[in-house]
Amino acid sequence: MRSRLPVVLVLPAVVGLAFLLVPLAGLLVEAPWTSLPAQLFSTEVVQALRLSLVCASLATVVCLVLGVPLAWLLARSELPGRGLLRALVTVPLVLPPVVGGVALLLVLGRRGVVGQHLDQWFGISLPFTTAGVVLAEAFVAMPFLVISVEGALRAADPRYEEAAATLGASRWLTFRRVTLPSVMPGVVAGTVLCWARALGEFGATITFAGNFPGRTTTMPLAVYLALETDPDAAIVLSIVLLLVSVAVLAGLRDRWIRT
Protein backbone atom coordinates (compact mmCIF):
# COMPACT_ATOMS: atom_id res chain seq x y z
CA MET A 1 0.00 0.00 0.00
CA ARG A 2 3.02 2.29 0.28
CA SER A 3 4.04 4.43 -2.67
CA ARG A 4 6.86 3.62 -5.04
CA LEU A 5 10.35 4.15 -3.72
CA PRO A 6 11.53 7.71 -4.40
CA VAL A 7 14.14 8.10 -7.11
CA VAL A 8 16.02 10.64 -5.07
CA LEU A 9 16.77 7.89 -2.56
CA VAL A 10 16.93 4.85 -4.81
CA LEU A 11 19.29 6.41 -7.34
CA PRO A 12 22.12 7.22 -4.89
CA ALA A 13 21.48 3.92 -3.15
CA VAL A 14 21.98 2.03 -6.38
CA VAL A 15 25.04 4.10 -7.27
CA GLY A 16 26.42 3.41 -3.81
CA LEU A 17 25.76 -0.29 -4.18
CA ALA A 18 27.43 -0.31 -7.56
CA PHE A 19 30.38 1.60 -6.18
CA LEU A 20 30.88 -1.06 -3.54
CA LEU A 21 30.14 -4.10 -5.66
CA VAL A 22 31.55 -3.35 -9.12
CA PRO A 23 35.19 -3.39 -7.97
CA LEU A 24 34.49 -6.73 -6.33
CA ALA A 25 33.00 -7.96 -9.58
CA GLY A 26 36.15 -6.70 -11.26
CA LEU A 27 38.22 -8.81 -8.91
CA LEU A 28 36.07 -11.84 -9.58
CA VAL A 29 36.39 -11.40 -13.34
CA GLU A 30 40.15 -10.95 -13.27
CA ALA A 31 40.80 -13.76 -10.88
CA PRO A 32 42.59 -16.82 -12.28
CA TRP A 33 39.75 -19.13 -11.51
CA THR A 34 41.59 -22.22 -12.58
CA SER A 35 43.99 -21.91 -9.68
CA LEU A 36 41.20 -21.34 -7.16
CA PRO A 37 40.53 -24.96 -6.21
CA ALA A 38 44.21 -25.64 -5.78
CA GLN A 39 44.51 -22.60 -3.52
CA LEU A 40 41.39 -23.45 -1.61
CA PHE A 41 42.65 -26.81 -0.56
CA SER A 42 46.29 -26.04 0.06
CA THR A 43 47.09 -26.60 3.71
CA GLU A 44 48.59 -23.14 4.16
CA VAL A 45 45.44 -21.46 2.96
CA VAL A 46 43.18 -23.64 5.06
CA GLN A 47 45.40 -22.98 8.05
CA ALA A 48 45.46 -19.23 7.49
CA LEU A 49 41.74 -19.13 6.92
CA ARG A 50 40.98 -21.06 10.08
CA LEU A 51 43.35 -18.89 12.08
CA SER A 52 41.72 -15.77 10.64
CA LEU A 53 38.23 -16.88 11.54
CA VAL A 54 39.22 -18.00 15.01
CA CYS A 55 41.19 -14.86 15.82
CA ALA A 56 38.59 -12.47 14.39
CA SER A 57 35.85 -14.21 16.34
CA LEU A 58 37.83 -14.20 19.57
CA ALA A 59 38.72 -10.56 19.03
CA THR A 60 35.05 -9.82 18.49
CA VAL A 61 34.19 -11.55 21.74
CA VAL A 62 36.81 -9.46 23.55
CA CYS A 63 35.37 -6.34 21.94
CA LEU A 64 31.82 -7.26 22.91
CA VAL A 65 32.76 -7.98 26.50
CA LEU A 66 34.72 -4.77 26.93
CA GLY A 67 33.17 -2.54 24.29
CA VAL A 68 29.47 -2.83 24.95
CA PRO A 69 29.86 -1.76 28.60
CA LEU A 70 32.12 1.03 27.45
CA ALA A 71 29.52 2.22 24.95
CA TRP A 72 26.91 2.10 27.69
CA LEU A 73 29.13 4.13 30.00
CA LEU A 74 29.67 6.75 27.31
CA ALA A 75 26.00 6.94 26.40
CA ARG A 76 24.28 6.71 29.76
CA SER A 77 26.48 7.86 32.60
CA GLU A 78 27.12 11.47 33.44
CA LEU A 79 30.89 11.32 33.44
CA PRO A 80 32.66 14.63 33.18
CA GLY A 81 34.60 14.99 29.94
CA ARG A 82 32.50 12.42 28.12
CA GLY A 83 32.89 14.33 24.87
CA LEU A 84 36.65 14.04 25.01
CA LEU A 85 36.52 10.38 26.03
CA ARG A 86 34.22 9.67 23.12
CA ALA A 87 36.67 11.31 20.74
CA LEU A 88 39.62 9.47 22.29
CA VAL A 89 37.88 6.14 21.78
CA THR A 90 37.82 6.81 18.05
CA VAL A 91 41.57 7.33 17.96
CA PRO A 92 42.59 3.76 17.11
CA LEU A 93 40.46 4.22 13.99
CA VAL A 94 42.63 7.04 12.76
CA LEU A 95 45.93 5.62 13.82
CA PRO A 96 47.71 3.97 10.91
CA PRO A 97 47.50 0.30 11.93
CA VAL A 98 51.26 -0.13 11.84
CA VAL A 99 51.60 2.67 14.37
CA GLY A 100 48.86 1.01 16.38
CA GLY A 101 51.00 -2.12 16.41
CA VAL A 102 53.97 -0.09 17.57
CA ALA A 103 51.84 1.39 20.34
CA LEU A 104 50.82 -2.07 21.45
CA LEU A 105 54.46 -3.16 21.44
CA LEU A 106 55.39 -0.16 23.54
CA VAL A 107 52.90 -1.24 26.17
CA LEU A 108 52.59 -5.00 25.89
CA GLY A 109 55.88 -5.91 24.20
CA ARG A 110 58.81 -7.61 25.89
CA ARG A 111 60.17 -4.28 27.06
CA GLY A 112 56.79 -2.59 27.23
CA VAL A 113 55.43 -0.80 30.28
CA VAL A 114 53.00 -3.58 31.09
CA GLY A 115 54.55 -6.33 29.01
CA GLN A 116 57.83 -6.51 30.92
CA HIS A 117 55.93 -7.29 34.11
CA LEU A 118 53.77 -9.85 32.37
CA ASP A 119 56.98 -11.47 31.18
CA GLN A 120 58.83 -11.33 34.52
CA TRP A 121 55.96 -12.22 36.82
CA PHE A 122 53.85 -14.61 34.81
CA GLY A 123 56.15 -15.61 31.97
CA ILE A 124 53.54 -14.39 29.54
CA SER A 125 54.79 -12.94 26.28
CA LEU A 126 52.16 -11.73 23.87
CA PRO A 127 54.07 -10.74 20.72
CA PHE A 128 54.51 -13.51 18.15
CA THR A 129 51.63 -15.52 19.60
CA THR A 130 48.09 -16.19 18.51
CA ALA A 131 46.90 -14.31 21.59
CA GLY A 132 48.85 -11.36 20.27
CA VAL A 133 46.91 -11.54 17.00
CA VAL A 134 43.64 -11.50 18.91
CA LEU A 135 44.77 -8.50 20.96
CA ALA A 136 45.95 -6.56 17.94
CA GLU A 137 42.73 -7.21 16.09
CA ALA A 138 40.65 -6.30 19.12
CA PHE A 139 42.55 -3.05 19.55
CA VAL A 140 41.89 -2.01 15.99
CA ALA A 141 38.31 -3.26 15.78
CA MET A 142 36.89 -2.24 19.17
CA PRO A 143 36.19 1.41 18.31
CA PHE A 144 33.83 0.26 15.58
CA LEU A 145 31.78 -1.66 18.06
CA VAL A 146 31.87 1.03 20.73
CA ILE A 147 30.81 3.82 18.43
CA SER A 148 28.00 1.87 16.75
CA VAL A 149 26.58 0.66 20.02
CA GLU A 150 26.85 4.08 21.57
CA GLY A 151 24.94 5.58 18.66
CA ALA A 152 22.23 2.97 19.09
CA LEU A 153 22.03 3.59 22.82
CA ARG A 154 21.65 7.29 22.32
CA ALA A 155 18.74 6.78 19.97
CA ALA A 156 16.94 4.42 22.37
CA ASP A 157 14.21 5.80 24.62
CA PRO A 158 15.57 5.82 28.19
CA ARG A 159 12.08 5.72 29.66
CA TYR A 160 11.96 1.97 29.17
CA GLU A 161 14.92 1.76 31.50
CA GLU A 162 13.03 3.86 33.99
CA ALA A 163 10.10 1.49 33.74
CA ALA A 164 12.43 -1.42 34.42
CA ALA A 165 13.84 0.39 37.45
CA THR A 166 10.39 0.87 38.93
CA LEU A 167 9.89 -2.87 38.56
CA GLY A 168 12.89 -3.40 40.82
CA ALA A 169 15.48 -4.18 38.18
CA SER A 170 19.03 -3.18 39.03
CA ARG A 171 20.98 -1.24 36.46
CA TRP A 172 22.70 -4.43 35.42
CA LEU A 173 19.51 -6.41 34.99
CA THR A 174 17.96 -3.49 33.16
CA PHE A 175 20.94 -3.33 30.89
CA ARG A 176 20.83 -7.04 30.17
CA ARG A 177 17.13 -7.56 29.76
CA VAL A 178 15.82 -4.20 28.57
CA THR A 179 18.49 -1.92 27.14
CA LEU A 180 20.57 -4.46 25.28
CA PRO A 181 17.69 -6.24 23.51
CA SER A 182 16.23 -2.93 22.44
CA VAL A 183 19.48 -1.81 20.80
CA MET A 184 20.15 -5.24 19.32
CA PRO A 185 20.19 -4.00 15.71
CA GLY A 186 22.88 -1.50 16.65
CA VAL A 187 24.88 -4.13 18.50
CA VAL A 188 24.62 -6.49 15.55
CA ALA A 189 25.73 -3.74 13.20
CA GLY A 190 28.66 -2.98 15.47
CA THR A 191 29.55 -6.65 15.79
CA VAL A 192 29.55 -7.08 12.04
CA LEU A 193 31.80 -4.06 11.61
CA CYS A 194 34.05 -5.27 14.36
CA TRP A 195 34.32 -8.82 13.08
CA ALA A 196 34.88 -7.75 9.51
CA ARG A 197 37.50 -5.22 10.53
CA ALA A 198 39.25 -7.82 12.66
CA LEU A 199 39.13 -10.33 9.83
CA GLY A 200 40.74 -7.86 7.44
CA GLU A 201 43.28 -6.54 9.97
CA PHE A 202 46.82 -6.49 8.71
CA GLY A 203 49.09 -3.68 9.86
CA ALA A 204 48.71 -3.90 13.61
CA THR A 205 48.73 -7.67 13.52
CA ILE A 206 51.98 -8.04 11.65
CA THR A 207 53.62 -5.33 13.70
CA PHE A 208 52.54 -6.64 17.08
CA ALA A 209 52.24 -10.36 16.48
CA GLY A 210 54.52 -10.92 13.54
CA ASN A 211 54.00 -13.48 10.85
CA PHE A 212 54.53 -17.16 11.50
CA PRO A 213 52.55 -19.75 9.60
CA GLY A 214 50.01 -21.59 11.71
CA ARG A 215 50.52 -19.25 14.65
CA THR A 216 50.09 -15.71 13.48
CA THR A 217 49.71 -15.82 9.69
CA THR A 218 46.13 -14.78 9.07
CA MET A 219 44.66 -14.48 5.60
CA PRO A 220 45.44 -10.78 5.12
CA LEU A 221 49.08 -11.49 5.94
CA ALA A 222 49.09 -14.35 3.47
CA VAL A 223 47.54 -12.02 0.90
CA TYR A 224 50.24 -9.40 1.41
CA LEU A 225 53.00 -11.89 1.04
CA ALA A 226 51.42 -13.35 -2.03
CA LEU A 227 51.16 -9.86 -3.50
CA GLU A 228 54.96 -9.64 -3.42
CA THR A 229 55.46 -12.60 -5.71
CA ASP A 230 52.20 -13.58 -7.33
CA PRO A 231 49.48 -10.90 -7.48
CA ASP A 232 47.04 -13.31 -9.06
CA ALA A 233 47.37 -15.70 -6.16
CA ALA A 234 46.80 -12.75 -3.82
CA ILE A 235 43.55 -11.97 -5.56
CA VAL A 236 42.42 -15.56 -5.30
CA LEU A 237 43.24 -15.59 -1.60
CA SER A 238 41.27 -12.38 -1.12
CA ILE A 239 38.32 -13.87 -2.91
CA VAL A 240 38.45 -16.90 -0.67
CA LEU A 241 38.43 -14.58 2.34
CA LEU A 242 35.53 -12.65 0.87
CA LEU A 243 33.43 -15.66 0.07
CA VAL A 244 33.88 -17.08 3.52
CA SER A 245 33.04 -13.83 5.23
CA VAL A 246 29.99 -13.22 3.06
CA ALA A 247 28.80 -16.73 3.78
CA VAL A 248 29.29 -16.25 7.52
CA LEU A 249 27.62 -12.86 7.58
CA ALA A 250 24.70 -13.76 5.35
CA GLY A 251 24.19 -16.91 7.36
CA LEU A 252 24.36 -15.36 10.80
CA ARG A 253 23.09 -11.87 10.54
CA ASP A 254 19.47 -12.34 9.82
CA ARG A 255 19.35 -14.98 12.47
CA TRP A 256 20.71 -12.53 15.06
CA ILE A 257 18.39 -9.80 14.02
CA ARG A 258 15.35 -11.99 14.19
CA THR A 259 15.91 -13.05 17.78
Binding site: G109, R110, T207, G210, F212, Y224, L227
Partner: protein
Protein backbone atom coordinates in the same frame (compact mmCIF):
# COMPACT_ATOMS: atom_id res chain seq x y z
CA UNK B 1 53.64 22.65 -19.27
CA UNK B 2 54.89 24.60 -22.26
CA UNK B 3 57.37 22.98 -24.58
CA UNK B 4 60.94 24.21 -24.29
CA UNK B 5 63.83 23.64 -26.67
CA UNK B 6 66.04 21.84 -24.14
CA UNK B 7 66.13 18.08 -24.20
CA UNK B 8 65.29 17.79 -20.53
CA UNK B 9 62.15 19.69 -19.75
CA UNK B 10 58.78 19.11 -18.19
CA UNK B 11 57.73 16.80 -15.45
CA UNK B 12 58.88 13.25 -15.02
CA UNK B 13 57.35 10.77 -12.65
CA UNK B 14 59.64 8.31 -10.94
CA UNK B 15 58.25 5.18 -9.35
CA UNK B 16 60.83 4.06 -6.83
CA UNK B 17 61.09 1.44 -4.13
CA UNK B 18 60.42 2.83 -0.67
CA UNK B 19 63.93 2.00 0.51
CA UNK B 20 65.24 4.55 -1.98
CA UNK B 21 63.18 7.39 -0.50
CA UNK B 22 65.97 9.38 1.04
CA UNK B 23 68.61 9.01 -1.67
CA UNK B 24 66.23 9.56 -4.58
CA UNK B 25 64.72 12.66 -3.03
CA UNK B 26 68.20 14.09 -2.80
CA UNK B 27 69.02 13.03 -6.39
CA UNK B 28 65.76 14.48 -7.63
CA UNK B 29 66.57 17.90 -6.20
CA UNK B 30 70.02 17.84 -7.71
CA UNK B 31 68.65 16.73 -11.07
CA UNK B 32 66.15 19.58 -11.09
CA UNK B 33 68.92 22.01 -10.28
CA UNK B 34 71.07 20.67 -13.08
CA UNK B 35 68.20 20.69 -15.58
CA UNK B 36 66.21 23.90 -15.14
CA UNK B 37 62.64 23.54 -16.29
CA UNK B 38 62.35 19.98 -15.18
CA UNK B 39 60.42 18.67 -12.24
CA UNK B 40 60.82 15.24 -10.75
CA UNK B 41 57.78 13.74 -9.05
CA UNK B 42 58.24 10.63 -6.95
CA UNK B 43 55.91 7.82 -6.12
CA UNK B 44 57.52 5.72 -3.41
CA UNK B 45 56.05 2.40 -2.49
CA UNK B 46 56.62 -1.31 -2.31
CA UNK B 47 58.27 -2.56 -5.52
CA UNK B 48 55.51 -5.08 -6.17
CA UNK B 49 52.77 -2.50 -5.69
CA UNK B 50 54.57 -0.12 -8.02
CA UNK B 51 54.89 -2.83 -10.67
CA UNK B 52 51.18 -3.51 -10.32
CA UNK B 53 50.37 0.19 -10.72
CA UNK B 54 52.52 0.52 -13.80
CA UNK B 55 50.87 -2.51 -15.34
CA UNK B 56 47.50 -0.89 -14.68
CA UNK B 57 48.51 2.16 -16.67
CA UNK B 58 49.90 4.42 -13.98
CA UNK B 59 51.64 7.53 -15.37
CA UNK B 60 55.21 6.42 -14.63
CA UNK B 61 58.26 7.55 -16.56
CA UNK B 62 60.97 5.75 -14.60
CA UNK B 63 60.81 2.62 -12.52
CA UNK B 64 63.47 1.90 -9.93
CA UNK B 65 62.76 -1.46 -8.32
CA UNK B 66 64.27 -3.06 -5.24
CA UNK B 67 64.21 -6.46 -6.92
CA UNK B 68 64.74 -7.75 -10.45
CA UNK B 69 61.59 -9.88 -10.09
CA UNK B 70 59.35 -6.81 -9.87
CA UNK B 71 61.16 -5.20 -12.77
CA UNK B 72 60.48 -8.34 -14.73
CA UNK B 73 56.75 -8.05 -14.05
CA UNK B 74 56.84 -4.74 -15.89
CA UNK B 75 59.15 -5.73 -18.75
CA UNK B 76 56.94 -8.77 -19.33
CA UNK B 77 53.98 -6.60 -20.20
CA UNK B 78 56.01 -4.46 -22.56
CA UNK B 79 55.58 -1.27 -20.55
CA UNK B 80 59.37 -1.15 -20.42
CA UNK B 81 61.26 -2.04 -23.50
CA UNK B 82 64.74 -0.76 -22.61
CA UNK B 83 66.99 -3.20 -20.81
CA UNK B 84 66.95 -2.49 -17.06
CA UNK B 85 70.26 -1.49 -15.58
CA UNK B 86 71.42 -2.38 -12.08
CA UNK B 87 72.28 0.87 -10.34
CA UNK B 88 72.85 -0.32 -6.78
CA UNK B 89 73.35 -3.40 -4.72
CA UNK B 90 72.40 -4.12 -1.18
CA UNK B 91 73.79 -6.73 1.16
CA UNK B 92 72.48 -8.20 4.35
CA UNK B 93 73.64 -7.30 7.82
CA UNK B 94 72.77 -8.73 11.19
CA UNK B 95 70.68 -6.16 13.03
CA UNK B 96 70.57 -6.21 16.83
CA UNK B 97 69.06 -3.82 19.35
CA UNK B 98 71.38 -1.22 20.80
CA UNK B 99 73.75 -2.91 23.24
CA UNK B 100 73.16 -6.31 21.66
CA UNK B 101 71.26 -7.82 24.63
CA UNK B 102 71.14 -11.26 22.97
CA UNK B 103 74.94 -11.32 22.54
CA UNK B 104 74.53 -12.21 18.89
CA UNK B 105 77.83 -12.48 17.10
CA UNK B 106 77.18 -14.43 13.92
CA UNK B 107 74.74 -16.35 11.79
CA UNK B 108 75.05 -19.41 14.04
CA UNK B 109 73.21 -17.58 16.81
CA UNK B 110 70.10 -17.55 14.61
CA UNK B 111 69.62 -21.22 15.36
CA UNK B 112 69.32 -20.66 19.13
CA UNK B 113 65.74 -21.36 20.17
CA UNK B 114 65.82 -19.11 23.25
CA UNK B 115 66.63 -16.04 21.21
CA UNK B 116 63.86 -14.12 19.51
CA UNK B 117 64.66 -13.95 15.82
CA UNK B 118 62.95 -11.98 13.03
CA UNK B 119 63.52 -12.66 9.36
CA UNK B 120 61.89 -11.45 6.18
CA UNK B 121 59.42 -13.77 4.56
CA UNK B 122 60.73 -15.77 1.64
CA UNK B 123 58.42 -13.95 -0.74
CA UNK B 124 60.20 -10.64 -0.26
CA UNK B 125 63.79 -10.05 -1.47
CA UNK B 126 65.45 -9.80 1.92
CA UNK B 127 63.83 -13.09 2.90
CA UNK B 128 65.00 -14.80 -0.26
CA UNK B 129 68.48 -13.44 0.37
CA UNK B 130 68.41 -14.62 3.96
CA UNK B 131 67.45 -18.10 2.85
CA UNK B 132 70.45 -18.12 0.56
CA UNK B 133 72.94 -17.08 3.23
CA UNK B 134 71.62 -19.60 5.74
CA UNK B 135 71.91 -22.31 3.15
CA UNK B 136 75.44 -21.19 2.40
CA UNK B 137 76.35 -21.11 6.08
CA UNK B 138 74.60 -24.39 6.82
CA UNK B 139 72.58 -22.85 9.62
CA UNK B 140 68.94 -23.81 10.30
CA UNK B 141 67.45 -20.58 11.52
CA UNK B 142 64.71 -20.67 14.15
CA UNK B 143 62.77 -17.49 13.42
CA UNK B 144 59.82 -16.35 15.55
CA UNK B 145 58.41 -14.26 12.77
CA UNK B 146 58.68 -13.93 9.01
CA UNK B 147 58.05 -10.30 8.29
CA UNK B 148 56.49 -8.89 5.19
CA UNK B 149 59.02 -6.10 4.86
CA UNK B 150 62.27 -4.86 6.24
CA UNK B 151 60.71 -1.99 8.13
CA UNK B 152 58.53 -4.32 10.15
CA UNK B 153 61.65 -6.28 11.07
CA UNK B 154 63.51 -3.15 12.09
CA UNK B 155 60.66 -1.89 14.21
CA UNK B 156 60.90 -5.05 16.23
CA UNK B 157 64.66 -4.76 16.53
CA UNK B 158 64.59 -1.15 17.57
CA UNK B 159 61.95 -1.86 20.22
CA UNK B 160 63.95 -4.80 21.50
CA UNK B 161 61.22 -7.29 20.71
CA UNK B 162 63.67 -9.52 18.91
CA UNK B 163 67.27 -10.17 19.68
CA UNK B 164 68.48 -10.38 16.09
CA UNK B 165 67.34 -10.05 12.53
CA UNK B 166 68.74 -10.14 9.04
CA UNK B 167 68.11 -6.95 7.07
CA UNK B 168 69.76 -4.78 4.48
CA UNK B 169 72.67 -2.64 5.34
CA UNK B 170 70.88 0.49 4.11
CA UNK B 171 67.96 -0.19 6.39
CA UNK B 172 70.18 -0.58 9.43
CA UNK B 173 71.70 2.75 8.61
CA UNK B 174 68.29 4.43 8.22
CA UNK B 175 66.98 2.97 11.48
CA UNK B 176 69.26 5.22 13.50
CA UNK B 177 70.90 4.74 16.85
CA UNK B 178 68.53 2.18 18.28
CA UNK B 179 69.78 -0.52 15.92
CA UNK B 180 73.31 -1.82 15.51
CA UNK B 181 74.51 -3.65 12.41
CA UNK B 182 77.04 -6.47 12.25
CA UNK B 183 78.58 -7.61 9.02
CA UNK B 184 79.01 -11.29 8.42
CA UNK B 185 81.04 -13.24 5.91
CA UNK B 186 78.26 -15.09 4.11
CA UNK B 187 76.55 -11.82 3.17
CA UNK B 188 78.42 -11.69 -0.11
CA UNK B 189 76.59 -14.78 -1.26
CA UNK B 190 73.26 -13.00 -1.46
CA UNK B 191 73.48 -9.61 -3.00
CA UNK B 192 70.30 -7.82 -3.97
CA UNK B 193 70.27 -5.90 -7.25
CA UNK B 194 68.29 -2.67 -7.77
CA UNK B 195 67.38 -2.31 -11.46
CA UNK B 196 66.23 0.93 -13.05
CA UNK B 197 64.74 1.67 -16.46
CA UNK B 198 62.73 4.38 -18.21
CA UNK B 199 59.31 3.42 -19.48
CA UNK B 200 58.68 2.92 -23.16
CA UNK B 201 56.48 5.99 -23.55
CA UNK B 202 58.53 8.23 -21.28
CA UNK B 203 59.85 11.61 -22.44
CA UNK B 204 63.54 12.16 -23.03
CA UNK B 205 64.05 13.62 -19.57
CA UNK B 206 63.31 10.22 -18.08
CA UNK B 207 66.34 8.76 -19.79
CA UNK B 208 68.36 11.74 -18.50
CA UNK B 209 67.25 10.98 -14.96
CA UNK B 210 68.25 7.32 -15.29
CA UNK B 211 71.61 8.46 -16.55
CA UNK B 212 71.93 10.84 -13.64
CA UNK B 213 71.26 8.00 -11.17
CA UNK B 214 73.92 5.94 -12.91
CA UNK B 215 76.37 8.85 -12.92
CA UNK B 216 79.24 9.35 -10.47
CA UNK B 217 77.17 11.75 -8.45
CA UNK B 218 74.31 9.30 -8.28
CA UNK B 219 76.57 6.55 -7.15
CA UNK B 220 78.02 8.80 -4.44
CA UNK B 221 74.63 9.59 -2.98
CA UNK B 222 73.64 5.93 -3.01
CA UNK B 223 76.87 4.85 -1.40
CA UNK B 224 76.33 7.42 1.32
CA UNK B 225 73.01 5.72 2.08
CA UNK B 226 74.75 2.36 2.41
CA UNK B 227 74.25 0.90 -1.02
CA UNK B 228 77.07 -0.93 -2.72
CA UNK B 229 78.10 -0.06 -6.24
CA UNK B 230 76.86 -2.43 -8.94
Amino acid sequence: STAQPSASTGEITVFAAASLTESFQKLGQEFEAAHPGTKVVFNFGGSSALAQQINQGAPADVFASAAPANMKQVTDTGAITAAPVTFAKNTLQIAVPRGNPGKVTGLADFAKPDLKIALCAEQVPCGAAAKKVFAAAGVTAAPDTLEQDVKAVLTKVSLGEVDAALVYRTDVRAAGAKVEGEDFAEAAGAVNDYPIAPLAKAPAAAKDFVDFVLSERGRAVLTEAGFAAP
